[in-house]
C-alpha cells in the first residue's frame, strides 16, 4: 500500500469493468445450459454435493429452507395445467431450470461484502473466500438469483453430517465449511486451478475439454457445456457466438428482433445488468412462470 502506487496508476485504478474494456485474457470461464436437453434428473446436483463437500441437511432443515444445494433444479409448470382444455397432469408441462451461481461480471454481491470475502477473479469468476467471511449475509440479500447458501449450523461438527468414516469421502481440495459462512457454486474452481497449473507447467493455456465441472461431467444429456469463453475454439465460445449472446450486453439479439428468431440463447435477469456468465438456451418461457 502506498500513495505513490495509487497516484502512478490512477487511471488504471479507475477502469470500470466489464463494459469499458476486455478484461479477461487468457481465461474467462463461462457456461451454457441447453434447457431443451435438460431432463430434470438432478444428477448435476448430486455430483455437486459429492465434489464440493456439500452437507446433506436432512428433511427438516430442507423444509425450513436451509438446504445447501449449490445447483438446484427449478421446476416451472405451464400455466394451462388444470384449466379447461389445458393439460391434465402437471408433470406434463413441467420445465426444468438448473440454477447455480451465475458468476456475474458485475456481481451485486461483490460490492456489498463488508470484508471483501467475495471478489472478482482475473478469469472472470466470482470468488468466495470462506475464511474471510464473517457472515453478514449482505451478499445473499443483494443476490437477485438467491444462489448463495449460508451455513446456518455447524454441519461438519455439531450436526455430524459426515460420521467418522464418511469424512474419507470428502474432497480434499475443497475446504469443509464451518458454521456462519456463506458459500456458493464456484464453477469447481479446484478443478480449474489444477488444470491451469498443469497447463502452465507445460507452457500453454488450458485446452477446451481439459477441464469439466462436476455438474457438466454428470449430465447424462450433455445439456451443460463449460469452458473458456476467450478461446475461439471452445465449445462454449462457439455456442455463445452461434446464439449471438455477448457478455457485456444487457439485451441479446434474440430479444431485439421482432417476430421471433431461430436464436435460443439468453441470460437470466439480464436487464438488471449483472452480466452473468451462464447462458441458457430456451425452454422456460415467460408465459410459463
Amino acid at each position: 500500500m502506498s500513495i505513490s502506487n495509487l497516484l502512478e496508476n490512477w487511471s488504471q485504478f479507475r477502469h470500470t469493468h466489464p463494459v469499458e474494456d476486455k478484461p479477461h485474457d487468457p481465461y474467462k470461464w463461462a457456461m451454457s445450459i441447453d434447457l431443451d436437453a435438460c431432463s430434470g434428473c438432478n444428477a448435476c446436483s448430486v455430483a455437486c454435493y459429492a465434489e464440493n463437500n456439500l452437507p446433506v441437511v436432512g428433511k427438516e432443515k430442507y423444509a425450513n429452507g436451509q438446504v445447501m444445494h449449490w445447483i438446484r433444479i427449478e421446476h416451472y409448470w405451464d400455466e394451462d395445467v388444470g384449466e379447461e382444455g389445458g393439460r391434465e397432469f402437471p408433470d406434463q408441462g413441467a420445465q426444468f431450470l438448473p440454477m447455480m451461481c451465475q458468476q456475474c461480471e458485475a456481481a451485486p454481491c461483490e460490492t456489498v461484502c463488508p470484508v471483501g470475502a467475495t471478489n472478482h477473479t482475473p478469469d472472470g469468476l466470482n470468488s468466495q473466500i470462506y475464511n474471510r467471511c464473517i457472515g453478514s449475509r449482505y451478499c445473499s440479500a443483494n443476490c437477485p438469483y438467491k444462489v448463495r447458501y449460508f451455513n446456518w449450523y455447524d454441519y461438519p461438527s455439531t450436526e455430524n453430517i459426515w460420521p467418522a468414516e464418511m469424512t474419507q469421502q470428502l474432497n480434499p481440495d475443497v475446504t469443509v465449511r464451518g458454521k456462519g459462512v456463506m458459500e456458493k457454486c464456484t464453477f469447481c474452481v479446484q478443478r480449474l486451478a489444477a488444470a491451469k497449473v498443469t497447463a502452465k507447467s507445460e507452457g500453454r493455456i488450458v485446452q477446451d475439454g481439459e477441464v469439466q465441472t462436476a455438474c457438466q461431467q454428470a449430465c447424462p444429456t450433455s445439456a451443460i457445456s463449460f469452458g473458456n469463453l476467450v478461446d475461439p475454439e471452445s465449445r462454449v465460445h462457439k455456442q455463445w457466438r452461434a446464439q449471438q449472446v455477448e457478455l457485456d450486453k444487457d439485451k441479446q439479439a434474440k430479444d431485439e428482433k421482432e417476430g421471433g428468431t431461430e436464436l435460443r440463447g439468453y441470460r437470466i435477469l439480464e436487464d438488471m445488468r449483472p452480466y452473468p456468465s451462464v447462458m441458457y438456451l430456451e425452454r422456460v418461457r415467460e408465459s410459463a412462470i
Binding site: 496508476n9 487468457p26 482475473p122 473466500i129 481440495d173 507447467s201 507452457g203
Partner: protein, 226 residues
C-alpha cells in the same frame, strides 16, 4: 463505597485471570522460543543436517527433492515412504546399530509407516502449491534447491528435526509476491502470465533488457483459498 471499589477490582482481576488461563489452556502445543511455530515431536528424530548439510559440516548434501520428491510435480512436497529410507539404510552397515536406525527398522519389520508429524502445517483453507514455486525458481531461474526451499522452510540443512522458522502468514506470503522481481525468462512459460489485472499487473519489460520481466504473484484469492 470502598467496598464497591474493592469488589470491582477483585472482579476485574478474577476476570483477567480466568481469561488468561482460558487463553493459555487452549494453546496445547508448546511454542518455540521465537514463537513462530509449535515444537513438534517426531517419532524418530530425523537429522536433516546429516542428510542435507554441507560436506564440510559432516553432511551428505542430498538434494531436498530426493526425498521430498513430489514438490516438483504436485501441490504437496510429500514425505518419503519408509521404503525410501530403508532403500539406502539397508546398505549402510556403519550406522545400522544406531538407535534411530534401529527404530526405523522396527517400523519396517512391523510393516507400519512412520507416523511423521506435519511441521509446516498451513490452515485447511490455505492451499500452497509447491510445483509452481519449484518450476519458477529452480527450473526457470536455475537457483539452487536448498536456497529455494529455504525461502519458506528456513535453513533446514542446519536443523535436525525441521522447525518452522518463517511466519507463513498471508501477509508474509504477500511480502514476497508484492516485490517487483526482475525475472530472466529463459524460454518456458511467460512468467506471471496470470498475475495481472488490466495492464498494471501484466508482466512488463523493464528498461534495458527485453528478457527481464517484472512479475507479481496471483492477485486472486481463489489461487490459495478454495
Amino acid at each position: 463505597m470502598h467496598r464497591f471499589l474493592r469488589i470491582s477490582v477483585l472482579l476485574t482481576g478474577l476476570f483477567a485471570a480466568v481469561s488468561v488461563y482460558a487463553a493459555e489452556s487452549l494453546q496445547t502445543t508448546q511454542m518455540t522460543e521465537d514463537s513462530l511455530g509449535p515444537l513438534v515431536e517426531q517419532p524418530i528424530e530425523f537429522p536433516h543436517n546429516r542428510h542435507a548439510g554441507d560436506a564440510g559440516k559432516g553432511g551428505m548434501e542430498i538434494n531436498c527433492m530426493y526425498c521430498h520428491t513430489y514438490a516438483r510435480r504436485s501441490a504437496v512436497a510429500g514425505i518419503p515412504p519408509l521404503q525410501k529410507c530403508i532403500g539406502c539404510h539397508q546398505g549402510i552397515e556403519s550406522v545400522r546399530e544406531a538407535p534411530r536406525i534401529k527404530k526405523l527398522f522396527e517400523y519396517w519389520d512391523a510393516k507400519k509407516a512412520v507416523p511423521w508429524k506435519k511441521v509446516h502445517d498451513l490452515p485447511d483453507f490455505v492451499r500452497f502449491n509447491h510445483e509452481r514455486h519449484i518450476k519458477r525458481f529452480v527450473e526457470q531461474q536455475n537457483r539452487p534447491f536448498q536456497e529455494v526451499c529455504g525461502y519458506c522452510h528456513g535453513d533446514v540443512k542446519e536443523m535436525t528435526v525441521a522447525r518452522r522458522s518463517k511466519a507463513l502468514s498471508m501477509g508474509w506470503c504477500a511480502s514476497c509476491h508484492q516485490k517487483d522481481h526482475a525475472v530472466v525468462a529463459e524460454g518456458g512459460t511467460q512468467i506471471g502470465s496470470q498475475a495481472y489485472w488490466y495492464t498494471f499487473y501484466k508482466p512488463e519489460a523493464t528498461d534495458g533488457s527485453t528478457d527481464v520481466l517484472k512479475a507479481k504473484g496471483p492477485n486472486d484469492c481463489w489461487q490459495c483459498h478454495k
